[in-house]
């Protein structure tokens, strides 16, 4: 029996067993849940090799599952984040209800993501895509909070995407009589022009919904923030990457053959940039950490979409590298928020402050993740950002690079807000008893944060599989031309050698840290956060001096004209307009027999009048 069958049976079987074990014992359920993911990860990386594939058919439809080097990049994200999140959720979900339901859907969404990566035909791709949507939908409504708003929005937009994809699949089948993705790619250059234009648009609608691209993003902030944080790390880190996975295929195989692809690319690239800017601005305005990270996810995916749409080898490298990094740092951050939520019971910045001494490990991992998110050098985010800027400059996108840069500079604002809001500021008596999260929650965060540091110094570790994957897509190898183990190059031959720079950073930091510590060591003392220079006044214990209300009010005042127009209000306006229109249309049915007779008469007259043009 082929290993791919075994993989899928293992995962499905594990999911069902986990669901059933919930009735028996909580411990057994947790063990089965973690074991399923671990075993399938081990199986996938040891027994299934690039290029493996199986053919089979269901009721005459030939289907094919297999894995290529390109899918393997994303499998790193899905399975790697999956393993981390599984350990995390066992601890995070402890004591919550309906855990069988949660774990089952968690596993199903992992299976469906692996299925998407391994489908070589459009039918199983579509089925797995729908499974992914539904399983994640069930988790979004798991908490029972804002089901109306977040759940309905999510499923509505997903359905829109799914119909678009289904339509595209039918169009492809009608033209090529085959459902293999490979056949579609080969036949695409010979499609009629209308097909060539509509297919990518339909596919991009489907993928854009999952990747939260600008006009289709409205579901994302609510859905990300309302699902349990243990799953949101996978939701934002891995599941949204499926949209990127599809987009890259569309851009490489379809958009390249468009008669005039520049406009197409520019539009999508600008949509990505606008997504990045608006996501960043809205993230700055949030007072809830989950909302902040959700908007920031939208913004980060905007960068990736821009990279994909520009489509030069360097841009593609940067998009794929940023995808991996985004999975790592956003996974860490959502986990950190989950840890804080579990320990304190709230995720609002104006309620929790001063946790740094109580939850030091959570702080360190979120600090590293935030540095990576901001794109500051020694960590992984910088490599992705650098390649994105260089690719945009090299490919003459001058204004686009400014837009992206604006989004990424403004990102510092919410980065600081996140760290300050939770960990810094006055240490309040209210949160004195807070303890560090359980080790099972802290360890995944720390491992991922450490990986960010390693990948920041040696990006070659990640760029190597990415390069192999891009070769599958038809790019020539970029190793040596654009990157080496710890060096980056652009098309003009400029370089950043990370190792010496990182050593310089580390050396300087250590030197001055030691200087600061050793100098006057005995005369340096720690004082509490109540001991601040506030005009001689001694703040009493109940007096909260932390500055967290209206944190970026002046900045938001400056950018308010841009933020006034919200996409959601347009959708609502559209909805109201349609409602009014159909209400008007309804009046056709007046209930009066005379009116209906007139309708029949008018119809016959029209038929007679336009007889020639209609039936001639």
């Amino acid at each position: 029996m082929n290993m791919i069958y075994i993989l899928f049976s293992l995962m499905f079987g594990g999911a069902i067993l986990t669901f059933l074990a919930h009735k028996v014992s909580g411990l057994l359920r947790d063990i089965l849940f973690v074991l399923t993911i671990l075993a399938s990860t081990v199986l996938f990386y040891t027994k299934i090799h690039t290029g493996d594939a199986v053919d089979f058919s269901i009721s005459g439809l030939p289907l094919q599952w297999g894995i290529n080097a390109y899918g393997r990049i994303f499998s790193l994200i899905v399975l790697g984040l999956g393993v981390m999140a599984s350990f995390y959720s066992v601890s995070y979900m402890k004591g919550k209800e309906r855990l069988g339901y949660f774990y089952f859907n968690f596993l199903i969404s992992l299976i469906s993501m692996m299925g998407i990566l391994m489908s070589h035909d459009l039918v199983s791709f579509f089925i797995f895509w729908e499974m992914m949507t539904w399983s994640s939908y069930f988790i979004v409504i798991y908490n029972g909070k804002h089901v109306q708003r977040s759940g309905i929005n999510y499923i509505l937009f997903s359905a829109l995407g799914a119909y678009a994809m289904l339509m595209a699949i039918v169009m492809v089948y009608a033209h090529t009589q085959s459902l293999m993705i490979q056949d579609m790619m080969q036949a695409f250059p010979f499609f009629p022009v209308a097909y060539k234009v509509w297919l990518p648009i339909l596919f991009l609608t489907a993928f854009g919904v999952k990747a939260a691209m600008m006009p289709l993003h409205v579901w994302a902030p609510d859905a990300y923030s309302d699902s349990p944080m243990a799953y949101t790390s996978v939701f934002s880190g891995a599941l949204s990457k499926m949209g990127i996975y599809g987009m890259i295929i569309v851009f490489v195989t379809m958009v390249n053959y468009l008669p005039d692809d520049t406009w197409f690319r520019e539009t999508i690239a600008w949509l990505g940039a606008i997504t990045a800017i608006m996501g960043t601005l809205w993230a700055i305005a949030q007072d809830d950490a989950r909302k902040l990270l959700a908007w920031s996810s939208v913004a980060q995916l905007g960068y990736i979409i821009t990279g994909v749409a520009v489509g030069t080898p360097l841009a593609m490298l940067s998009a794929l590298f940023l995808s991996v990094m985004h999975a790592l740092f956003k996974g860490t951050l959502f986990m950190a928020v989950g840890a804080i939520e579990k320990q304190t019971g709230t995720t609002k910045f104006n309620e929790v402050t001063g946790l740094i001494r109580k939850m030091p490990w959570t702080f360190i991992s979120s600090l590293l993740a935030i540095i990576a998110l901001a794109g500051i050098p020694p960590l992984g985010g910088f490599v992705g950002k650098w390649m994105l800027y260089e690719s945009l400059i090299n490919s003459n996108h001058y204004i686009l690079v400014i837009a992206i840069f604006f989004a990424s500079t403004s990102a510092f604002l919410y980065c600081y807000k996140f760290l300050f809001g939770f960990f810094l500021g006055q240490e309040e008596k209210e949160w004195e008893q807070v303890k560090e999260a359980p080790a099972l929650m802290v360890l995944p965060m720390l491992i991922m944060a450490t990986l960010l540091l390693v990948f920041g110094v040696f990006p070659g570790i990640v760029l190597n599989p990415i390069d192999l994957g891009m070769q599958t897509l038809g790019f020539s190898t970029t190793a040596g031309t654009f990157w080496s183990m710890s060096g980056l190059f652009n098309e003009w031959g400029n370089q950043v050698m990370l190792q010496p720079l990182v050593y310089a950073i580390g050396g300087t930091f250590l030197f001055f840290l030691i200087l600061l510590t050793v100098k006057g060591f005995k005369e340096t003392r720690y004082v509490t956060t109540k001991d601040i220079s506030s005009s001689g006044e001694v703040p009493l214990e109940h007096e909260n001096l932390t500055f967290s209300e209206g944190f970026y009010q002046p900045f938001l005042r400056a950018v308010w004209p841009v933020m006034k127009r919200r996409m959601m209000s347009y959708y609502q306006g559209f909805g109201q307009g349609m409602e009014a229109f159909f209400d008007y249309l309804r009046r056709v049915y007046s209930g009066n027999g005379q009116t209906y007779a007139i309708y029949v008469l008018v119809f016959v007259v029209i038929l007679l009048l336009f007889k020639n043009s209609l039936f001639g």
Partner: protein, 181 residues
């Protein structure tokens, strides 16, 4: 070499020179005397040429300039500010009110002699002292620093209990964290 006595002497000379010529003042404008500080600092009298410069917070300041009378309420804040300053630190009492209570000598809620509550290195006499005398006060402080005699902070550390008793005697509601050296 560093523990050598002579080199320590050289270091002391350099440090005292630096402390003498760089005086960051936290002007605690408690009373009417605060009005004399702006002319001292600005174009007319230009204290900056002596290295005197305003500091924004007690953490950065070297000199606490107490300008005028102190009510018992204000005294609590002043003590707090003084204790937040970093060593070496100096206090200048400004105006007659800090010396003997001045025109408030029989007031029920002002203190009379500042140096019962905190160590004062230099007094500037007058009601009000003109900017010239403020400058001469700074010059006097510089002299003391150079000679190594401005050791009010050391005195405060040594006689902390005496100062505390005095302070607690006049301040009725003493809610302050204890000062740990």
């Amino acid at each position: 070499m560093i523990n050598d006595k002579n080199s320590q002497k050289i270091v002391d000379i350099i440090q005292n020179f630096a402390r003498q010529h760089s005086i960051w003042v936290l002007a605690y404008g408690t009373g009417c005397g605060a009005i004399e500080i702006p002319p001292t600092m600005t174009s007319r009298y230009d204290a900056e040429r002596l290295g005197v410069r305003g500091a924004a917070t007690p953490r950065q300041a070297d000199v606490l300039l107490i300008t005028g009378y102190l009510t018992t309420k204000t005294l609590k804040r002043v003590i707090r500010v003084y204790e937040q300053m970093q060593d070496p630190k100096y206090v200048i009492g400004f105006g007659s009110c800090t010396i003997n209570g001045g025109m408030y000598w029989d007031s029920y809620n002002t203190i009379k002699a500042l140096d019962r509550y905190m160590p004062v290195d230099v007094y500037i006499n007058g009601c009000m002292p003109r900017p010239e005398s403020v400058l001469s006060g700074f010059a006097k402080l510089q002299e003391l620093i150079q000679a190594g005699k401005a050791d009010g902070a050391k005195k405060y550390k040594e006689n902390l209990e005496w100062y505390r008793t005095n302070q607690k005697k006049v301040i009725p509601n003493w809610h302050m964290p204890e000062y740990n050296w």
